[in-house]
Symmetry: C2
Subunit: 371 residues, 2 copies
DNA sequence: GTGAAAGCGCTAACAA
DNA sequence: TTGTTAGCGCTTTCAC
């Protein structure tokens, strides 16, 4: 049986009223310094903790943040969400929030879970992962004015896709990877990615295309790493502006490089055959940038004796570390912290809400033997 | 703003009193069939969900299960907890429980977190992972009579280490791995594990030693897989009995095989040098069983051209899949389900509690190219 | 089988 | 600055 110390016990022990105890906790500035210290001391001594359920009934705030935990396809990149989750739990705790988990098979069942959760546990906010085009979840939450932040940009320009988000600049990552290869002397660098239409995949392809286009324009190659490290965190970036600019031109150039790329579903086997295909089609190809470590792992296996091929993956998963694969690392702990910060700010002051707040974090290239 | 439908709304809409609605939900047998159906229909139509905070205030039950999420050392086996967590979330939801996350650096700070959580959110139970010798957490929880289940056996015979647990039979896993190698014709099979003292590591070493001892006694090798598949789930096994029996003798035999094994800290680099060491020391060694995929990944890299060495890892992590490493797979979803079941049973009837309930699950060998 | 009353622990208003 | 009052939504007695 857990000892239960109520606010009444503290009040009695401290010789004050229950309100004074409550005020000491919730509005310290309204209590006399001396009284405050005394009450705090008694609270400490008695090991008192405000009952969250009672507090919630009164305030309507649960101090709970809900997030989905997914079964991660082939498991290779599963650790990404795992690391993000750990960071989220840690940062949230510092802000006085706890993380509540749930599972869902698709957008529709996830929305049903929202309804469930909102009716019962009433989490103060949600964190969305794996955002995609025409995400039903964001519009549902937006319609109801429920606080949430997405880890991942809204891959759509629709007005109802405007919401707070935190993301990692994937294009900057593949651009840095490509520049690194260019700096190492590689001239024909291929790309293995996913079929067009997935925001994340298109973004990563763009970084590769951009670096190649820049190299053709004769850009200084010694600044190889800058693509990643210079992409400083930005707040309030307008989404529309974000999606055009010089990238569009780079993308066009990239299309001209069609012969150098393949688009396949994610997976080791797919990566292997795509790499084999690419290597056979272009005898001068000496390096490959991949949209994921799974694909890169496959590409590694496609290499043949006598023909060295540099390979770079994405996500810096444990598997990459295990086989010495150079990979683009996402700052997951920072991303999680940014999510919590955005939420905490929105929850503390629901009034002055800037409708869209974004944080774009730069990834970093982890160089290992493979490139 | 989340629409809030209270029990009063349902009562009014259904033309009954609030109690009848509450009874329909909590004691259906006490309500007339017809009334019950009508009320249920109104609940459905209005989308009513009992407010968990209010319910908790009355009943003292939060329907929350807390578990720690760890940062996972080198990340290779991080996916193990990840998969377990997913299963836990899913099964718990089916039983009407939600998973609450927290982090902690060590036993002591984890206990501090228990106090925090118990004071505020009052989770109904805890799930412990990574149990070890002299686990402070189990005794702390046991002393206070708090419901919990450990994923991992209590690696101690102390009376205060008696509590419900769910675990995977690691010894059966390494035994099956070793038998598989024996069946494939290998005669000198080494083992790379962790320093003695870690329950999990010792257990895995024992399975290897046991299989080797059995082969020396001339046991039929055609039943290779049975070690794992026959170790059916058992309930109520006494821990003391569990830790002796034929294993003790096998362990003795294993000790005689000292030259065939190495004990190092977990990690790829450590696995590689241990394997190199072992292979140099025994020119006839043709196969290696490892206590983890990290070690096995290292062993794989230690192989030299011209000397094929079969390697088997443990945990069937994504990295193993990526490089084609044969590995022992833990039935994580089943383990999670067993944890939830044990807890649910204990929570439904706190009266008739069997003080120690155990579930030992058999792992399975996933055969790939490496062996 | 159904309805009325009480109270879980807390905090927002108001009164002193 | 401190104390008093009321009530969040629910379930558990206890009458009816």
């Amino acid at each position: 049986m857990a000892e239960k110390v109520t606010i009444t016990d503290v009040a009695r022990a401290a010789g004050v009223s229950r309100q004074t105890v409550s005020n000491t906790l919730n509005s310290p500035e309204v209590v006399r310094e001396e009284t405050r210290r005394h009450v705090l001391e008694v609270i400490e001594r008695l090991g008192y903790r405000a009952n969250q359920a009672a507090r919630q009934m009164r305030t309507g705030r649960s101090r709970l943040i809900a997030i989905r935990i997914e079964p991660d396809g082939d498991g290779i990149s599963g650790s990404v969400l795992d690391r993000f989750l750990h960071g989220l739990t840690e940062t949230a705790a510092q802000e006085g929030y706890r993380i509540l988990l749930y599972t869902a098979a698709d957008d529709r069942s996830e929305i049903a879970t929202y309804e469930d959760l909102l009716g019962a546990y009433k989490p103060d906010a949600f964190v969305l992962t794996a955002t995609h085009h025409d995400d039903l979840r964001t519009s549902w939450l937006l319609e109801r004015g429920l606080p949430f932040v997405a880890f991942g940009r809204p891959w759509s320009d629709l007005p109802d896709a405007r919401h707070p988000w935190v993301d990692v600049d994937g294009a900057a990552g593949t651009e840095a990877a490509t520049r690194h290869l260019l700096a190492a002397g590689h001239r024909r660098i291929g790309f293995i990615g996913w079929p067009p239409g997935s925001g994340v995949g298109d973004d990563r392809r763009e970084g590769w295309a951009r670096a190649l286009a820049a190299s053709q324009r004769g850009t200084d190659l010694t600044t190889s790493q800058q693509g990643a490290t210079l992409a400083a965190s930005q707040q309030g970036t307008d989404l529309a502006a974000f999606r055009q600019g010089p990238d569009a031109a780079a993308s066009q150039q990239g299309a001209a490089l069609g012969g150098l790329q393949r688009a396949v579903e994610d997976g080791i086997a797919a990566g292997e055959s795509a790499a084999r295909d690419l290597l056979a089609a272009d005898p001068e190809l000496t390096a490959l940038v991949c949209a994921s470590d799974s694909l890169a792992l496959g590409a590694l296996q496609a290499r043949e004796p006598g023909r060295p091929v540099a390979v770079i993956g994405f996500d810096d998963t444990p598997a990459a570390k295990a086989v010495g694969l150079t990979s683009v690392n996402q700052p997951l702990a920072e991303a999680a912290a940014a999510c919590v910060e955005l939420l905490a700010r929105a929850l503390e002051s629901p009034d002055a809400e800037p409708p869209s707040t974004h944080v774009l974090l730069p990834p970093s290239l982890i160089i290992r033997q493979s490139a």
